[in-house]
């Protein structure tokens, strides 16, 4: 009996083919990854434009009545951006681009926060907002739970603005926020609600009660529950979202 020869050339060709398939998969992954990053960038640009526009509107109208400033001055895309960025950090990896987007997002959040603070101060309107500090530098299971609570609250109160800041973001503006509210990394997660700093995990019930008390928000009623209830309830919740700022 004789030996069965091995066709090494074929082994090499198959190897090259397989490499080719991997290259295509990597190319596709990069292509869609970049598309997602550019989507994030475009949302950020929109937010930046919204904020700039609001700031300008605010300056222009500074001598006029607060009646002319409607709630639409606030960017509605901040929440969507936050969700997508969080997903991107998990699935696209912490690339330089994603890290840059995170920093930029933090900055936009601060600008948005300053804007509503200014409007509130001048027009005396209470905006419902929460500052949330967490960390990704170490394993923080409480932060994970706190994130779930805040997402639930955001779903419950669409007008509630949650500004979340990663403690480990190397950005001077974020560091300044940490100093202002005296946030320490050993006491994370931390939530600032109506100028009160709450450290450690805060339950849904506790925050919910505080939100209701501080801002007088009304929760949206899920469709299933709303069906069958009187029209007044629906009207109430829909007007809540578009409530104009009044003096």
């Amino acid at each position: 009996m004789h030996q069965n020869p091995i066709d090494w050339k074929k082994y090499l060709i198959v190897f090259l083919f397989t490499i080719g398939i991997f290259m295509v998969a990597i190319y596709l992954s990069n292509y869609f990854g970049e598309k997602k990053i550019s989507e994030l960038k475009s949302i950020q640009d929109n937010i930046a434009l919204d904020i700039l526009s609001s700031e300008t509107q605010f300056s222009l109208l500074s001598e006029l009545s607060c009646k002319n400033i409607s709630s639409s001055v606030l960017s509605g895309e901040l929440g969507e951006m936050g969700q997508k960025l969080e997903w991107g950090e998990k699935n696209l990896g912490n690339t330089t681009e994603v890290l840059y987007l995170r920093k930029y997002y933090s900055l936009l959040e601060i600008k948005d926060y300053l804007l509503i603070k200014n409007i509130s101060k001048r027009c005396g309107t209470d905006y419902a907002f929460i500052l949330y500090f967490y960390t990704t530098a170490e394993n923080c299971s409480e932060c994970e739970r706190q994130g779930i609570v805040l997402s639930t609250l955001r779903d419950k109160y669409p007008t509630l603005r949650v500004y979340s800041f990663d403690y480990s973001t190397a950005l001077s503006a974020v560091e300044a926020m940490l100093k202002i509210y005296k946030i320490e990394d050993t006491k994370l997660p931390a939530v600032v609600l109506d100028d009160e700093v709450l450290t450690g995990f805060q339950s849904l019930e506790k925050l919910d009660a505080k939100i209701k008390k501080s801002f007088g928000l009304e929760e949206i009623i899920p469709k299933e529950e709303a069906t069958g209830q009187n029209q007044t309830t629906n009207d109430k919740s829909s007007t809540e979202n578009a409530k104009p700022i009044t003096e």
């Binding site: 998969a25 990854g33 849904l204």
Partner: protein, 414 residues
């Protein structure tokens, strides 16, 4: 740590894609030589063949098996049948002894010693140039033997020819999943035949030249997988094995998950231990594609499927625990927005595309298998059963076989 898991995942995926493409390119290279012959074949010369039927508690099915041998379109005077009752505790002996009246049938009864001992008893009484075995749970197609013998006529240096195994009359999901698997097996086996790298000469009607046993010795216990060991031994001695696509043997397969588990545990245990016994011929180029492709790709399939299964379980556990955490933290949240159907949140990592590609390759192999065996390329719903049963259960018999090997525990036949 995630990086390490990712690297392992990509290495396994790379090798899995490599193996599938290797088989596919072999298919493309040889597609002109693959013919599914529908016509009746006539041999120039009909050599004498002995078929041994080892039986152990087969009173139900053995009759059908023997009848299928009688119905073969092979000259009766050239076909000798040896029926061996390996110490059955049922009425197998009563059934087979009735066939002793036929001049070309010989019937033996012995104490139970395992299938290989029954085969060896048959071998001792074989005086023909060719021989084969037909498990008592299988039936041969009328044309099977003449087609197998046609291979020996065309290529005189061949030492063994294996048939195409088809699942006989699948009745439930477990059997239909195996039906799909066996069709894929037809394709893989044929490609390995082209590569000279077949690693099993299955019990149902593989035909050998008697010279194989004269030269290399009888069957061994071989961890209850004597049909695998003899193929390893033949590969070690460069005895060529081929696969005949259009020689069909219909076999009964395990009808429940438990029985399937037991059968596969035995097969995988046999594979691991025969590969250990024959380790000296692995990864050695002088033993050809068998040594550098077949056995390594089987080892890879075992490792990769176990690893990927582990990873899927890990992902599922993480998902469930995050949901539990969510439930514990905020209860059932009715106000949660369900408007996350956004292209953005669709996973587009390279592993996603590679996963789809691997599934495509598996479907392709199955459809080629169908085409080769049936002459038409149809992908049936059996494929879904196959994916479901083999993805979720195979890792368990793989792990159990490794565990048994580590503890030197032999799985039983039944």
């Amino acid at each position: 740590m995630d990086l390490v898991f990712d690297v392992i995942f990509y290495i396994f995926t790379f090798l899995a894609v490599y193996v599938q493409i290797f088989l596919f390119i072999t298919f493309l290279e040889n597609r002109k030589n693959i013919g599914n012959n529908k016509e009746e074949i006539k041999l120039v010369k009909y050599p004498a063949v002995t078929v041994i039927v080892p039986c152990w508690n087969e009173e139900q099915g053995v009759h059908k098996t023997i009848r299928s041998l009688f119905n073969l379109n092979y000259p009766k005077e050239k076909l000798k049948i040896i029926l061996v009752d390996d110490g059955s505790t049922d009425n197998t002996w009563g059934v087979i002894s009735k066939y002793a009246k036929y001049p070309n049938v010989r019937v033996f009864h012995k104490e139970n010693g395992g299938k290989y001992t029954a085969l060896n008893l048959g071998l001792e009484h074989t005086d023909t140039e060719f021989l084969g075995c037909l498990d008592a749970d299988s039936t041969a197609d009328k044309q099977a033997l003449v087609r197998l013998m046609h291979f020996f006529e065309k290529v005189p240096e061949l030492m063994a020819v294996t048939p195409s195994l088809i699942v006989d009359n699948p009745r439930n999901i477990v059997e239909r999943a195996q039906k799909a698997e066996y069709y894929m097996g037809v394709y893989v086996k044929k490609m390995l035949g082209f590569l000279g790298a077949i690693q099993v000469t299955p019990g149902p009607l593989t035909i050998f030249r008697k010279k194989v046993f004269d030269d290399l010795g009888p069957y061994f216990h071989a961890h209850n997988t004597e049909d695998m060991e003899i193929a390893y031994r033949m590969q070690k001695h460069y005895y060529p094995i081929e696969q005949c696509l259009d020689a069909f043997v219909y076999t009964n397969t395990p009808s429940s998950i438990g029985k399937l588990f037991k059968q596969r545990l035995r097969w995988i245990y046999g594979f691991i231990n025969n590969s250990i016994d024959y380790r000296s011929i692995l990864f050695r180029k002088k033993y050809g594609n068998f040594s550098v492709f077949t056995v390594p790709s089987n080892i890879l399939a075992m490792a990769a499927s176990t690893y990927i299964f582990g990873r899927v379980i890990w992902e599922a556990v993480s998902f469930i625990s995050s949901k539990v955490l969510q439930y514990k933290t905020v209860g059932i949240n009715l106000t949660a927005s369900a408007n996350n159907i956004d292209f953005f949140f669709i996973n587009t990592q390279s592993s996603f595309f590679l996963g789809i590609f691997v599934i495509f390759l598996v479907i392709l192999s199955l459809s080629i298998g169908y085409r080769l065996a049936k002459g038409k390329g149809v992908v049936s719903p059996d494929l879904i059963y196959f994916f479901f049963i083999f993805s979720f259960i195979a890792p368990f018999w793989l792990m159990k076989a490794v565990y048994n090997t580590a503890l030197s525990r032999r799985p039983s036949w039944r």
